[in-house]
Each structure stands twice: as structure tokens, then as C-alpha cells.
Point group: C2
Chain length 153, copies 2
Amino acid sequence: MQLPEEVVERLLVRWPVARLATSGATGPHQVPIVFARSGGRLWSPVDGKPKAGGELARVRHVLADPRVSLLLDDYDRDWTRLWWLRVDAEARVVRPADPEADAEVAEALAALQEKYPQYELVPLLRDPPTLLSFQPTALRSWCASADASPTVC
Amino acid sequence: MQLPEEVVERLLVRWPVARLATSGATGPHQVPIVFARSGGRLWSPVDGKPKAGGELARVRHVLADPRVSLLLDDYDRDWTRLWWLRVDAEARVVRPADPEADAEVAEALAALQEKYPQYELVPLLRDPPTLLSFQPTALRSWCASADASPTVC
């Protein structure tokens, strides 16, 4: 069973977290990310949350291979309520010299700030400003039953 | 900051869901899975939850490339409580002719049944019986602060 189209739409706008899978030299790599939709794309900033240091694996991987997967889902002990939404996407690394002067980037940053009030305290960008931008190429969804949908609405 | 070793240990035994990333022909592929630890490996059955049909992509992918990633994490609106645990693993597809007669498989099935009471209603295996078995090759963890740990304990 697939998720109804309007639920998919809501998830892409409102769901707070995705798991990003990229291809690394030694196999697939995953990390949870925050994201917002803007201009038909999904955007995820390299933000001020603590990081392991150095250039992030997700950025290196996307530069080497732009094909990624984003997974939205929510585990529930009631297995009739399970669902997932998978977005295959072409990713690119965006490094704006002046983020606010780039209309596309400025719009994405505004969408991130609106979706995540946490950015009132956590820096939205680091130096140099870096974002990942995802152009969806395929959407696939699954839900265990019609009961699954309300949990995501 | 990394998760304390005893928290990692508890997560591998108790956390109810992982996101499995495999390498597909057109890029990385992800799906949420249930799993249990048995004999130092992680095990995930192709169970009776509704599926899209045909041989599962995760099984095809593992047969073509056994290198996978398992991600355990929990989103929280309080970003000081965020954490993740990533397990790189070598996967194999296990198709026991008689699951209960194979000691290693029987032990894994018992661990899955103990962890997930849902299997009282949902069939644990399909025909033919198929499981994915994961041998961890590397563990990496991250948490935003010391406050993150209690949420996973």
C-alpha cells in the first residue's frame, strides 16, 4: 500500500528528519539530517550542531557521486501504523559566497528557519556556508495499512 | 562527542528499528528494518509485514554487494538530545532449508521473537525462509551532548 499523495506532500514539507544515504568509497553511508523544501528541491544545511570535524563525509560523498537516498519514516510498536517515504535524489553541494544575495539560497534558508525554531539558537550555516540541495528523481512510499496515514498528518 | 560504550551495547540489543542502506544499481537504497542481536551478529527477517512484492530490493542488493550501513537514531526537537549510532556491516542472505534445525538461525529467531511480541501475530518468516545477517565491521557514534545519552537508556 502506498501513502496518499497529499500525505506525501505534507511529509516533504513538515516531517522533521530524514536519513540521508550517500555512496562512500567503502560502501553506503548514512546520517540523519534536517531539511526543508524550497523551490521544488529539498535543502539541508551544514549547520552549527556539533560535528565530528573536518569536511563532512556527506559533502565529500556527494561531490564524488550525486546519487543519494532520503528516507522518512516513523517506527511504531503497532506495526499496522508503519510507513516510509523514500526519495531518490540528485544532490549538489551549494557554497554561496553570499547566502543572502543568492535568491534561491536565501529562500531555502528562510524555509529552514521557519521549519526549525531551533535555528534561533543554533547557527544555520558555518564558515564557509555550505548546503546540500536535493532534486528528487523518484518517490516511493509504503504503509502497512490505511491506519498508518493519520500518524503522519 | 561519542555515545558511551554501555549505551552503544544497549542500543544494539534493545533499539527497535534501524535504517538499512544498501547499494543499488542506480545509487544507495534505504529501508527501515527490525533486527535482533544473536551470536555477535545482527539479524533481520524477511517477515510477514506487507511488502511491495517480488524479491525484495534489500535481498537483491546484498547478494550483489554485501557492504551495508545500519543507522540507529532518534529525532528530538531538543537538539541537545540528538544522537546516532552507525554500524557498517558485511551482510549475507541466509536461506535456511529448516530454520529450527539450524542452531545459529534458531537462536536468531528466538532473539527476534523475544524482542518483538508483534511476532505473536505477524509471521516471522515467509516461504522460502529468508533472513539478512549482519556482521559489524565498524561502529561510529555521535551525540550532541551528555544530555543525549539518557534518552536511549
